[in-house]
C-alpha cells in the first residue's frame, strides 16, 4: 500500500502534476516538526497570538440540569478567530513560509477556515487566496468581507453545487496551476496524504490539553470525549491523545440535517459508502455510480460529503463511534447552551452539545464527559434566528 494509510483508508489519489508538490510538503513537514526553532515559534504563536491553552470549563449548571455525568467544555471557541481552525493554519502557514512559499490558497465552507488562513497569512506576510462556493459567499457575506479585510482575495466558485466540495475542487485545480510559490493550506483532516496527518498533528494539541487539564481537575481521564465531525479536524484533534486509552469513549457527531432517512443530510458514516475522492479513500455520500451526492446541513462547516480517512478507520475498527444529529437537535442545543451556561456555541459544535444532552443523563454522576466546543456561535446567530422564523440578516 502507498503512504498515509489508516487501515485501508487514506492514500494519495491526485493528479500526477501534484505528486512532487505533496512529496515536497511531506519532506518539509517531517523536517520542521522536529526542528526546535519551528516548534518554539509555533508554540509562541499558540500562546501569545491564538491564546492557547484554551480553557477547560466545568459546566456546572448543565451538569445539574441533565442530572448525570459531569460535563466539561473544551473552549476552542475562545481562540483567536473564534474556532479550532487557527491551530492548523498557524502550523501550515508557518510551514509554508519555512518552505520558501510566498502564497497560500485555501478552500472554505462557512468561512471559518478561510478567515483563519487569511489571518495567518496577514500575520506572516503571505499572499492569500480563498475559494468559497457561490452559495456560501452569499450566505456568509460577512465572512467574505472579513477575509478581504485581512488582505485575502476571495473567489466565488460557481461550479457543481457551489458549496464546500466544489471549493475544494477549485483549490486543487488552482494548486495544479501554480505550486512553485504556493502551498495549499487544507482545512481539515482530509485530502491526499500528508494533509490528514499534518492537520491532525496541528490539532492534536486540543486533546493533549484536555488530558492535562482534566488530570489537574479530576485526577483522571474523562469517560467520553464528544466532538462534531464534518471533515473531522476538531474531532481528530480532540480524540487523538485518547485513542490508546480504550476506556475513553470517543464520539463523533455528524450532521443529519433534516434526518438520515431524508435526502437532506451530510451523515457520511451513517449513510455513506466507500469511495475514492478528493485524494483519499474514505466514506462518501454518493450514488451507485460514484457520483458525489449533494449534501445538506444547517451548519455550513459540516456540509461536506466525505470524512477524513482516519475517522473512517476509527469507525471501522469501532474505536470511535459516530452518531447523527439533526438540524432541529443542533439548534435546540445551540439555544440550550446559550441559556444554561451563557456560551453561544458554533452551530457545528452544537451538534456535539446535542449528543451530550442525550448521553449525560444515562451516565452515573461520577462519570465525566468532555465536549469540544470547536467554535463560537456569533457567525450563526442570524441563521438560527431565521430558522426560528425571525427575519434577521447580517
Amino acid at each position: 500500500m502507498s503512504e498515509g494509510r489508516y487501515g485501508e483508508y487514506g492514500g494519495q489519489y491526485i493528479p500526477e502534476t501534484l505528486m512532487n508538490a505533496v512529496h515536497e510538503l511531506e519532506e518539509a513537514y517531517n523536517t520542521y516538526k522536529e526542528d526546535p526553532d519551528f516548534v518554539a515559534e509555533l508554540d509562541d504563536l499558540y500562546r501569545n497570538y491564538a491564546g492557547r491553552p484554551s480553557r477547560l470549563y466545568y459546566a456546572e449548571k448543565m451538569t445539574k440540569d441533565l442530572g448525570g455525568a459531569k460535563i466539561y467544555l473544551k473552549r476552542e471557541d475562545l481562540n483567536h478567530t473564534g474556532s479550532h481552525k487557527i491551530n492548523n493554519v498557524l502550523g501550515q502557514v508557518l510551514l509554508a513560509k519555512k518552505m520558501g512559499k510566498t502564497r497560500v490558497i485555501a478552500e472554505t465552507g462557512a468561512g471559518q477556515h478561510g478567515v483563519a488562513t487569511a489571518t495567518a497569512a496577514a500575520l506572516m506576510g503571505m499572499e492569500c487566496e480563498v475559494f468559497m462556493g457561490k452559495e456560501d459567499t452569499d450566505r456568509q457575506a460577512l465572512n467574505v468581507y472579513r477575509m478581504e479585510l485581512l488582505g485575502a482575495k476571495v473567489h466565488a466558485v460557481t461550479s457543481g453545487t457551489m458549496t464546500l466540495k466544489d471549493a475544494v475542487n477549485e483549490t486543487m485545480r488552482e494548486w495544479t496551476r501554480r505550486m512553485d510559490d504556493t502551498l495549499y493550506v487544507l482545512g481539515s483532516v482530509m485530502g491526499p496524504h500528508p494533509f490528514p496527518m499534518i492537520v491532525r498533528d496541528f490539532q492534536k494539541i486540543i486533546g493533549k490539553e484536555i488530558k492535562e487539564q482534566i488530570a489537574e481537575r479530576e485526577g483522571r481521564l474523562p469517560d467520553a470525549v464528544i466532538a462534531c465531525v464534518g471533515g473531522g479536524s476538531n474531532a481528530m484533534g480532540a480524540f487523538y491523545e485518547f485513542i490508546p486509552h480504550k476506556e475513553v469513549q470517543l464520539i463523533g457527531c455528524e450532521a443529519a440535517g433534516l434526518g438520515v432517512d431524508t435526502s437532506k443530510h451530510a451523515a457520511t458514516i451513517a449513510k455513506g459508502s466507500e469511495g475514492i475522492f478528493h485524494g483519499m479513500k474514505s466514506l462518501f455520500c454518493q450514488d451507485e455510480y460514484g457520483q458525489i451526492a449533494p449534501v445538506y446541513s444547517i451548519s455550513a462547516g459540516l456540509d461536506y460529503p466525505g470524512i477524513g480517512p482516519e475517522h473512517a478507520h476509527l469507525a471501522g475498527t469501532g474505536r470511535a463511534r459516530y452518531v447523527p444529529i439533526t438540524d432541529e437537535e443542533a439548534v435546540a442545543a445551540f439555544e440550550y447552551l446559550s441559556r444554561t451556561e451563557g456560551i453561544i456555541p458554533a452551530v457545528e459544535s452544537a451538534h456535539a452539545v446535542a449528543y451530550a444532552r442525550k448521553l449525560a443523563p444515562t451516565m452515573e454522576k461520577d462519570k465525566i464527559i468532555v465536549i469540544n466546543i470547536s467554535g463560537r456561535g456569533d457567525k450563526d446567530v442570524a441563521a438560527i434566528a431565521r430558522y426560528r422564523g425571525v427575519e434577521i440578516y447580517e
Binding site: Q12, Y13, E16, T17, S159, G290
Partner: protein
C-alpha cells in the same frame, strides 16, 4: 496487450476526446463513427463525473450536461457496445477512480472487455496508487495508461518503465483547456521517456490549433485534443457531428505532417 499499439503503427496518432453522453448518448455514438471516419486513430471517451478535479471549465460543463441528460456508467457501456458494431479504432475511457471503484473494479473491467474498451486513463490515480486497479487491468487485458506532467521531472523514468498502451504526456500545468501557447519543454519530457521505453507517447492538455498539434506530434507519437472538440459539441449540440468531423480531419492532416493551409 490491447489494440492500442495499432493507433501508432507507422504513423503519428491523432486522438480526439469527447465526454460520453454530452449532449446525449445518441450524439456521442454518432461522433465516434464520424471521428473514426475523419481520421481519428484512437478515441478517448470521458466517463462523466460529478467532480472532475483535473478538468477546466469546458469539460466540467460537459460532465454536468451529460449527467443532467441521464448518462450513467451502464448506459455509457451499452452505447460503446453498440458503437463497436462499426467503430474499429482503439477506444479508451478517461475516468476518475471513484466511478470505477464504486462500480466494482472487476465488474468495471469485465464490462470494458465486453464493450471493446482498450484502455483506461485515470487522472487521479498516480503511479503510487496504480495498484488500486493495475492487477484487474492486467487480468482483463485493458491497458492502464500512465500520465506524466511538466512537474514530474525524474519521476518520468519510473513511470515510463512500467507504462502500458501509451503514455499521456501532459503538456501544461493546471487543468484541461485550450491554451494560446504551450510553454513546457515537451521535447525534453518525450526524450526522457524514450530513454526508458518504446511505449508510444502522445501529448495532450491545451492543444487546439493544427499548428500546435503538428508541433506536438513532431516531438512525440501523437496529439490528444479534448476541450477544443468539447467546445464544438457545446456550441452545436445535436448538430455537432459534421463540424467535429471536419475539425478532426483538419487536425489529423496536421499531425500527419500534411501541409497546413
Amino acid at each position: 496487450m490491447s489494440n492500442i499499439y495499432k493507433a501508432f503503427e507507422n504513423k503519428k496518432a491523432f486522438i480526439p476526446f469527447v465526454t460520453g453522453g454530452d449532449p446525449n448518448l445518441d450524439v456521442t455514438e454518432k461522433l465516434l463513427a464520424a471521428m473514426e471516419e475523419a481520421g481519428a486513430d484512437l478515441i478517448e471517451i470521458g466517463v462523466p463525473f460529478s467532480d472532475p478535479i483535473a478538468e477546466g471549465i469546458v469539460i466540467q460543463e460537459a460532465n454536468e450536461r451529460a449527467l443532467a441528460a441521464g448518462c450513467t456508467t451502464d448506459r455509457l457501456f451499452d452505447m460503446v457496445k453498440r458503437a463497436r458494431e462499426k467503430v474499429t479504432v482503439p477506444i479508451v475511457f478517461l475516468t476518475y477512480i471513484n466511478p470505477i471503484y464504486t462500480y466494482g473494479k472487476e465488474r468495471f473491467l469485465k464490462r470494458c472487455v465486453e464493450c471493446g474498451i482498450d484502455g483506461l486513463i485515470v487522472p487521479d490515480l498516480p503511479f503510487e496508487e496504480k495498484k488500486e486497479i493495475a492487477g484487474e487491468c492486467e487480468a482483463f487485458g485493458v491497458d492502464l495508461i500512465s500520465l506524466v506532467a511538466p512537474t514530474s521531472n525524474e519521476r518520468i523514468r519510473m513511470i515510463a518503465k512500467e507504462a502500458k498502451g501509451f503514455i499521456y504526456c501532459v503538456s501544461s500545468l493546471g487543468v484541461t483547456g485550450v491554451r494560446s501557447e504551450i510553454k513546457t519543454d515537451v521535447g525534453e519530457m518525450t526524450a526522457m521517456i524514450r530513454e526508458e521505453t518504446q511505449v508510444p507517447c502522445a501529448v495532450g492538455f491545451g492543444i487546439s490549433t493544427p499548428e500546435q498539434a503538428a508541433k506536438m506530434a513532431r516531438i512525440s507519437d501523437g496529439a490528444i485534443v479534448g476541450s477544443a472538440i468539447v467546445k464544438i459539441v457545446a456550441s452545436y449540440g445535436e448538430n455537432a457531428v459534421a463540424p467535429v468531423a471536419e475539425y478532426v480531419k483538419k487536425m489529423k492532416a496536421a499531425v500527419s505532417g500534411e501541409s497546413l493551409r
